[in-house]
Amino acid sequence: MAPALLFVGLFVMIPLGQLVAVSLTDRSLLGGDRFIGFTNYWRIWNDSNFWRALVFTAKYTLILTPILMVLGFLLALLTVENTSLKRVTRTIVFLPVVIGLPSSSLLWFWLLDEQVGLVNKLLVELHVIREPIVWFATAPLAFWAVVMSITWKVVGFGMVLFIAGIQSINPDILEAAVMDGAGYWSRVRLIILPLTRRVLLLTTLISAIGSMLAFDQFYIMTSGGPRGQTFTAVYWIYQNSFISFKLGYGAALSIVLTLIILFFSTMQIALTARSVET
C-alpha cells in the first residue's frame, strides 16, 4: 500500500498544498512571486467574468443533467431485456461513451458546420429549416449544439447504470404487480423508479460533477465564444493560468472550484458508503 500512498502524497497532497500557497501570491509564468495574502480571492469576488463562467457552467449542468437522466432511463427501460436486438442497441448507444470527448466534439463540430455540416443539410431537406443554421455564431445556439453533442456522447453511461439497477430488482415483485393487474407504466412509476432511486441519485451526481468540470467540448466546439459567453469554470481557470500566465490567480480560482466540487463529491461518497453497508 505504501507506494500508492506515496504517489498520492507526492502528486496530489503536496500539489494541493502548493496550490493553496500559489493562490496567495501574484505568481505568473513571466515572473513575480510575491506573497499578497487574500488579494486574489478578493479579485475573484469582483471578477464578473468568472461569475459569468460559473453561472454558465451551472446552467449547463442544470439543463444537461435532467436530459441525460431522463433519456438514459428511457433507454434503459427500452433495452433492459436481453433479446439480441436490445443487446445490439445497448452496445451501439454505449459506443460514444468510450470514444473520448475530443473525438466526439470534433465529430459534431463538423456535423454542425453551416457549410459542410450534414445536420444542416438534413434539416433543410426535411424542411425543418429553410437555410443552414450557423450554430456557433450565437451563444444560445452554441450552447444547444454542445448539449446535443454531449447527450449523444454520454447518454449510454446512465443507461448502463440504470439497466443494472433495474435488473437487480427482485423479479418476483414485478411479477406480483403484473398479477395484480398493474400496467407497464404504473409498474415503472410505482416499483422500478422507487427501487432504483439510489442508482438514479448517484448517476445524477456523477453526471453533474462531470458537467461542472466541462472543458474539452467548449474549447473544441466554441472556443469560449462568441464573445466569451460560453466559457466554463475550468475553461476560465485554463485561460487565466495558461493563456494569460496568471498562475497565482488561476490557483485561487482552482481552490474555489475545488470547494464547490468537494460539496458534490462528498455527497457522492456518502451515498456510496451507505450503500456498501446495506
Binding site: A4, V12, P15, L106, Q115, L118, I166, L174, L202
Partner: protein, 296 residues
C-alpha cells in the same frame, strides 16, 4: 452487481405483456430500437464515410452524405501531418502504457493490503487513496506544471502519465480492493497451511484470481489516457510531444485558417478506432468495471 447481472435474470425483470396487444407492442419496441441505433450510429458512420472521400469532396458545399469516389487522400495527409501520425500515436500509446503499468503496480498491492490486512489507520489510508476523486485534477494542473517544470517532466511521457495515473488511481484501488475481498479466505488459509509466505500468496494466488479486475483497470486506464485532453494540452506543448487528442485540434486549427474537413474526420476516425476495438473486445470487463466503480 457484475456483468453477469446484465445477462442473467433479465428476461424476468419486466414480465412481457400477454399476447394479442403484445405483438404490436413488440414491433413498436423493435422499431424504436432500430431508430435509436440509426441515430446513435449515424455520426460515427458519417465521419468514417467522410474520411474516405477525396479531400475536395470532403470540403464540398453543399456536402454529400456518401463519398463520390473512394480515396485515402485524407489519411495520407494525416499520416504526414506536422511531426507525423506515427509520432502522435506513439506518444499516446507510450503514455497510456506507462499509465496502465503505474495503475496496476500501485493499485494491486494497495488493494491487497486494504482487503487482507487488519491494521491501524487502514480506513484513513483508504480515504487518502480515494482523495483524488474529491479534488478535481483540473485544479492540480497549475502546481503540477510548476513541479514538472522544475523536475524536467514537461513534454515527457512520464509527466503526462503521472497526471493520468492520478486520474485513474482511486478507481483502480477501489476495483482491486473489491476484487481481492471477494476471494474466499479458505483459499488463502489453505496456502498458509502449506507454508506460503505473504508475498507468495499475493503473487501465486491473489494476482491470478484478480486477473479480471486487472484487465478492467488496464482497460479504463487505456481509454481514459488515450482520450485525456486538458493535461495533454498543458503538459505536452511541443509539436513532437503532442498526443492524439492534441493532433485532432491541430488538424482542426489547420495551417491557413481554412479547416481541412477530410483530414479532420480521418484523424477523428484514427482516434476512435482503438477505443472502439478494445471496448468491443473487452465489453464485459468494461461494463462490470463501470458498475462497480460507480454504483458500489
Amino acid at each position: 452487481m457484475t456483468a453477469a447481472a446484465l445477462t442473467g435474470e433479465a428476461e424476468r425483470a419486466i414480465p412481457a405483456p400477454r399476447r394479442g396487444r403484445a405483438t404490436r407492442g413488440a414491433y413498436l419496441v423493435a422499431a424504436i430500437c432500430v431508430a435509436v441505433i440509426a441515430v446513435m450510429a449515424a455520426p460515427m458512420a458519417l465521419s468514417f464515410l467522410a474520411s474516405i472521400k477525396t479531400a475536395a469532396d470532403a470540403s464540398a458545399v453543399p456536402p454529400h452524405y456518401l463519398p463520390q469516389a473512394l480515396s485515402f487522400e485524407n489519411y495520407a495527409k494525416v499520416i504526414n501531418f506536422q511531426a507525423g501520425l506515427a509520432s502522435y500515436v506513439g506518444n499516446s500509446g507510450l503514455v497510456a502504457l506507462i499509465t496502465i503499468a503505474a495503475c496496476i503496480a500501485l493499485a494491486a498491492p494497495a488493494g491487497y493490503g486494504l482487503a487482507r490486512f487488519a491494521m491501524r489507520g487502514k480506513e484513513i489510508a483508504f480515504l487518502i487513496l480515494l482523495a483524488p476523486i474529491m479534488i478535481p485534477y483540473q485544479a492540480l494542473l497549475t502546481p503540477l506544471y510548476l513541479d514538472f517544470a522544475r523536475l524536467g517532466l514537461v513534454n515527457t511521457h512520464l509527466g503526462l502519465a503521472i497526471v493520468h495515473t492520478i486520474l485513474q488511481l482511486p478507481f483502480s484501488v477501489f476495483l482491486m480492493r473489491n476484487s481481492f475481498e471477494s476471494i474466499p479466505r479458505e483459499i488463502e488459509e489453505a496456502a498458509m497451511v502449506d507454508g506460503c509466505s505473504t508475498w507468495k500468496r499475493f503473487t501465486r494466488i491473489f494476482l491470478p484470481l484478480a486477473v479480471p479486475a486487472i484487465v478492467t483497470v488496464a482497460l479504463f486506464a487505456f481509454i481514459n489516457s488515450w482520450n485525456e485532453f486538458l493535461a495533454a494540452l498543458i503538459v505536452m506543448n511541443r509539436e513532437t510531444s503532442f498526443t492524439v487528442p492534441i493532433l485532432l485540434v491541430s488538424v482542426q486549427i489547420g495551417n491557413h485558417g481554412a479547416v481541412d474537413w477530410g483530414a479532420l474526420q480521418a484523424s477523428v476516425v484514427i482516434s476512435m478506432i482503438p477505443c472502439i476495438a478494445v471496448y468491443l473486445a473487452l465489453q464485459r470487463y468494461y461494463v462490470s468495471g463501470l458498475l462497480s466503480g460507480a454504483v458500489k
